[in-house]
């Protein structure tokens, strides 16, 4: 037990590890070694069973839009954009944005695929229609 605790509670925390993976172009989420639940956002303890045996895994990146809202930003500030919640195929849910399609075409139930947007200060995940 103490060896496991050392590994989990020492060194960079889960936010840092997640960002480092994204910086290398990899989307990683955590999977619980005890109950199997996939967890997002990054954490130290499993939200399903409380275990600390969360391991970094590569999700398929495939997901389904669970909910959507279009923010009516003024044209001079860049115009409207969409905000979605996506259920990854493996079970975890992320907030995101669907690119490459008109906002009005973003519908609940549509299939999407994750990609990493590295255009800003820090890389983050967005989605394309799948």
């Amino acid at each position: 037990m103490s060896a496991i605790q050392d590994a989990v509670f020492n060194g960079p925390g889960p936010d840092r590890v997640y960002q480092e993976y994204l910086g290398k172009g990899e989307l990683r989420i955590q999977r619980c070694g005890d109950c199997g639940k996939q967890v997002f956002y990054p954490r130290l303890t499993c939200t399903g069973c409380g275990s600390i045996k969360l391991a970094w895994v590569c999700p398929s990146g495939r997901g389904t839009v669970y909910a959507v809202s279009i923010v009516n930003r003024r044209t001079e500030k860049g115009g409207p954009y969409n905000v979605v919640l996506v259920d990854l195929a493996e079970g975890a849910r992320m907030m995101g944005r669907v690119d490459g399609v008109d906002n009005e075409q973003v519908k609940i139930g549509m299939a999407v695929k994750a990609k990493i947007d590295s255009s800003g200060k820090a890389p983050f995940v967005v989605f394309d229609p799948a």
Partner: protein, 385 residues
């Protein structure tokens, strides 16, 4: 066995202050005006208070329980600054009832004040952007609620017109409340054709940004009849939380109100059919639909047709948000307190044109965060003890 908290404490003073716009005044000024008036209604002054519960906007820096006690010259035996968002006041009543019942204090003051409209013109929140949502620029908090509305519409066929009918009912009540900030005609098409904020919400699906404050005075049931006003008893209270950020809410169509409501009803020994008037936190139009379903006033998925039937409007079968709610009466950032004051006034029979006839039981429901914290209070007149 009946729960020992049921009816153990009562509200003997209730007041509003600074409703709408209160230029030149601090949040503390507004909260103190409300406190002074609530105490005066009970024949008391700040010097009688020995327990303080309350919140001010952006509460991280000025520990408001300490600040307010200092300004008013109170040395409380019990101070609570618990923050669960705008629902938090409905947990103060429960904590106060417990402390009063146990004799830890004698006179509890619950306060709130906010000058957000005059000071900044927008919502003042102590919530910071969440790292894993901030990249997508959701409008806080409207987009989070809009996502829930989109899911409810998808899953149950709820329509924008049904959402709008919540705002229309609120306005009809506000038109009978001289203290309401927004009055005048409002139709479903007015709501639909207002400026879109975050779909499916237009600005009229969203609560107001106003100033305002409120205060309550609570004492133990033993003393409750020693005051000028009819006491209003806390019959049931329960809290539940499911998440902080909307991405962590498991099912966007079902809130923790289901849990808080069940336990509050259990404590009160009551059921939804026993409730005469409902005051719930309508930060957005979807809130009323979700909470009416989750609290058991209609079935899951039927909230849209329930509100569109006129049931919650004046003359309907279930009076909801009789002051005009956060949508048309007042919303200084944390509306929960106003559900309680309106509930108290209805049970005292002080509501004039909007008075619900022979109201004996009021259900007040607070929401905090982004559908995150749900707290239910059931209030009753002496006849319900």
């Amino acid at each position: 066995m009946p729960n020992s908290i049921r009816g153990a404490a009562a509200i003997v003073g209730a007041s509003l202050a600074g409703l709408g716009e209160a230029p030149g005044r601090t949040s503390e000024d507004i909260a103190i005006e409300a406190s002074y008036k609530a105490l005066a209604e009970a024949g008391l002054t700040t010097q009688d208070v020995d327990a303080v519960f309350g919140s001010l906007p952006g509460d991280c820096t000025p520990l408001s329980g300490l600040l307010m006690a200092e300004i008013m010259g109170i040395r409380p035996k019990f101070t609570d600054n618990n923050r669960t968002g705008g629902s938090t006041f409905l947990s103060y009543t429960l904590m106060a009832a417990m402390a009063l019942k146990e004799g830890l204090c004698d006179t509890a003051l619950i306060f709130y004040g906010s000058n957000q409209r005059s000071n900044t013109g927008k919502l003042v929140s102590s919530v910071r952007p969440f790292l894993y949502e901030a990249f997508y620029n959701p409008v806080f908090p409207a987009t989070s609620y809009a996502l829930a509305a989109s899911r409810h519409m998808h899953q149950y066929g709820t329509t924008r017109e049904q959402l709008a009918s919540v705002a229309v009912a609120a306005r009809q009540w506000a038109n009978m409340n001289p203290e309401a900030f927004m009055r005048g005609p409002l139709s479903v098409s007015d709501v639909l054709n207002s400026r879109m904020v975050s779909s499916p919400f237009t600005v009229r699906d969203c609560c107001l940004v106003t100033d305002g404050g409120a205060a309550l005075v609570m004492v133990s049931a033993k003393r409750a009849k020693d005051f000028p006003k009819k006491p209003v008893y806390l019959l049931g209270a329960a809290a539940a939380t499911t998440h902080m950020n909307i991405m962590a809410m498991a099912d966007l169509t079902e809130t923790a109100a289901k849990d808080s409501g069940q336990r509050a009803f259990q404590m009160a020994g009551m059921k939804p059919a026993d409730v005469d008037v409902v005051e719930l936190y309508d930060a957005f139009t979807i809130n009323a639909i979700l909470f009416l379903e989750d609290l058991g006033f209609c079935k899951k998925g039927e909230g849209g047709s329930f509100v569109a039937s006129g049931a919650i409007a004046p003359g309907g079968s279930l009076p909801v948000n009789t002051n005009g709610g956060g949508l048309s009466c007042v919303h200084p950032g944390m509306y929960g307190m106003f559900t309680l004051v309106e509930g108290v006034r209805q049970l005292r029979g002080e509501c004039g044109e909007r008075q619900v006839k022979n109201a004996q039981v009021a259900l007040c429901h607070g929401n905090g965060g982004v559908l995150s914290s749900q707290i239910t209070n059931i209030l009753g007149s002496e006849a319900t003890l």
